[in-house]
Amino acid sequence: MSHYVEFSQLTKSYPTARGPAVIVKDFNLKISRGEFVALIGHSGCGKSTVLSMVAGLSEITSGAIVLAGKEVVGAGPDRGVVFQSPALLPWMTAFENVMLGIDQVFYTAARAERRQIAEYYLSIVGLGESMHKRPAELSQGMRQRVGIARAFALSPKMLLLDEPFGMLDSLTRFELQQVLLELWRREKITALMVTHDVDEALFLSDRIVCMTDGPEAEVGDILHVPFPRPRERQAVMEHPDYYNLREHLIEFLEIHAHKTPHPIEAEKPHQPTAPPEIPSAPIAAVS
């Protein structure tokens, strides 16, 4: 069976004065086309590092990522990124922010056509009325709606979401999860989402990949989420497997919350002198 995205022996390390600090080591994962995968783990475990390597914003130390038969080298608009902070350019309106990407990707299309694409996605995320406002005039939730529209508008091969709802209150988060799910249902874009919210992962994804704690983070556990689509929050929560899965995830996170003694690392014969603190790198520090 061929896979759409394949991570093989993906490793990220930074050189430090005391030798290389290994953030992620031998990360292996295969994702099918149209699959929604959530990456879950503790803050600073390296899950965001994996995501930014897919995005091309962080260099791959060793190993490789293959997307649709091509190795990922550098950043590009074939991967739509939804940043944790919406990362909208504040001097542009919501519409202009979305257009910036569309102009890059669909430069052969007529201007009217490109505007239509932007308007389409902005109205789907519920910004039909206020697409010509600047980010400062929008609420945090509305800004992230723009961020989602911007990513989808590129018709990317893959969608990368870096804790997209981490900065929102729970009510807004629920709304935006619904918006994201609705758009994803229409487009079926292969998605990788980093989160530390167990319920969010269960509600949105087909598979949940649990990462062990860094340094030297790797895939710890993979869970299949059996809930039928299209999903309703109520139906998902009432599903007989919901609490078992939830418990399983929380248990996994709890075990890995205690860094010492580390159950997985303790088994390893060779333990390098790992620095207690991960050096701050542009992206890797955000988690």
Binding site: A55, G56, L57, A75, G76, P77, R79, G80, V81, F83, S85, A87, L89, P90, W91, L100, G101, Q104, A136, L154, P282, I283
Partner: protein, 293 residues
């Protein structure tokens, strides 16, 4: 006392009080004249004016006004090359400052960008900038004179620049560009990584990244630099005009000092101060506009 605050009287009564106190102090320090009339040996009346006081030659506020009247009340009059209404002088100075300032911005912004973007560039030139920055305009001007001694620039419009004009413009530019250079560099370094990531993910070209991301993100910092630069450019004008002898507020000031007309020195100082204040206010308004963007 609440009527006092209700009508915002404090916001203009107190400044008025401050000005009044300063005028009083000025009057106290200034020299006063006593006029005595005596008859000389031939029986003619002789009027002797004697100045006395803490600073005998400093004119009082009233004397200053009396001497400055014609310059203030006919601000655009031109009676001679170095005898013009005060606003006419101000205009001449502003034109010169504008040219030097424009040159400062034109040079300062790209240099600031290079300084902020390239670590190598910063390492190479930052020490030089730090050494050149505190050099006084009085020191730059002679160098400017030497630099442009044999240069005579003819502009396509028909206007020609003399060596002294070029030296003045050079001095204004080189003294006032540093705040623009440094603030632009700080602004470039302060661009959030998120914005740069957006540019990377969308694969914006270099020019697009510059004009759509880097430049707008740096604008607020740049305008802070522009405001500080304008303040310095205006500060330098007196020195530049003094040494080159050009007509303008600074040139007028120096000439009147040589002519022992001290009241006009005070007139020039006040004019320079007020114009500088207005320029700064105008730039803060522009700056505030870009802050919210």
């Amino acid at each position: 006392m609440h009527w006092f605050h209700r009508f915002k009287l404090d916001s203009f009564l107190y400044p008025l009080l401050g000005i009044g106190l300063c005028l009083l102090l000025w009057y106290g320090v200034a020299g006063k004249s006593t006029v005595t009339q005596t008859k000389d040996d031939w029986g003619d009346t002789v009027t002797i004016t004697k100045r006395h006081g803490l600073s005998a030659d400093l004119p009082t506020p009233a004397e200053t006004w009396e001497a400055s009247r014609s310059y203030v009340l006919e601000p655009f009059a031109k009676r001679g090359e170095l005898d013009q209404g005060i606003l006419r002088f101000t205009w001449l100075s502003l034109v010169l400052v504008a040219q030097g300032y424009a040159l400062a911005l034109l040079l300062g912004v790209p240099v600031g960008f290079c300084l902020g973007l390239s670590k190598t560039f910063a390492k190479m030139f930052d020490p030089i900038f730090q050494v050149l920055r505190p050099v006084s305009p009085l020191a730059w001007l002679p160098l400017g004179m030497v630099l442009f001694l044999s240069a005579k620039v003819e502009m396509p419009g028909g206007t020609a620049y003399t060596a002294s004009e070029l030296a003045a413009i050079f001095t204004i530019a080189i003294c006032s560009m540093w705040p623009t250079v440094l603030n632009t560099a700080v602004g470039v370094r302060a661009i959030p990584q998120d914005y740069l990531n957006v540019a990377k993910v969308l694969k914006l070209s270099r020019t697009k990244t510059l004009f759509k991301v880097l430049l707008p993100a740096t604008l607020p910092y740049m305008f802070t630099g522009f405001r500080l630069s304008l303040g310095i450019a205006w500060l330098v004008i007196v020195a530049a005009e003094m040494l080159t002898g050009r007509p303008g507020v600074g040139g007028f000031l120096w000439q009147q000092y040589n002519a022992l007309s001290y009241a006009h020195i005070i007139l020039c100082i006040l004019t320079i101060g007020i114009v500088g204040f207005i320029l700064d206010r105008m730039m803060s308004l522009v700056e505030a506009r870009f802050k919210t963007a």
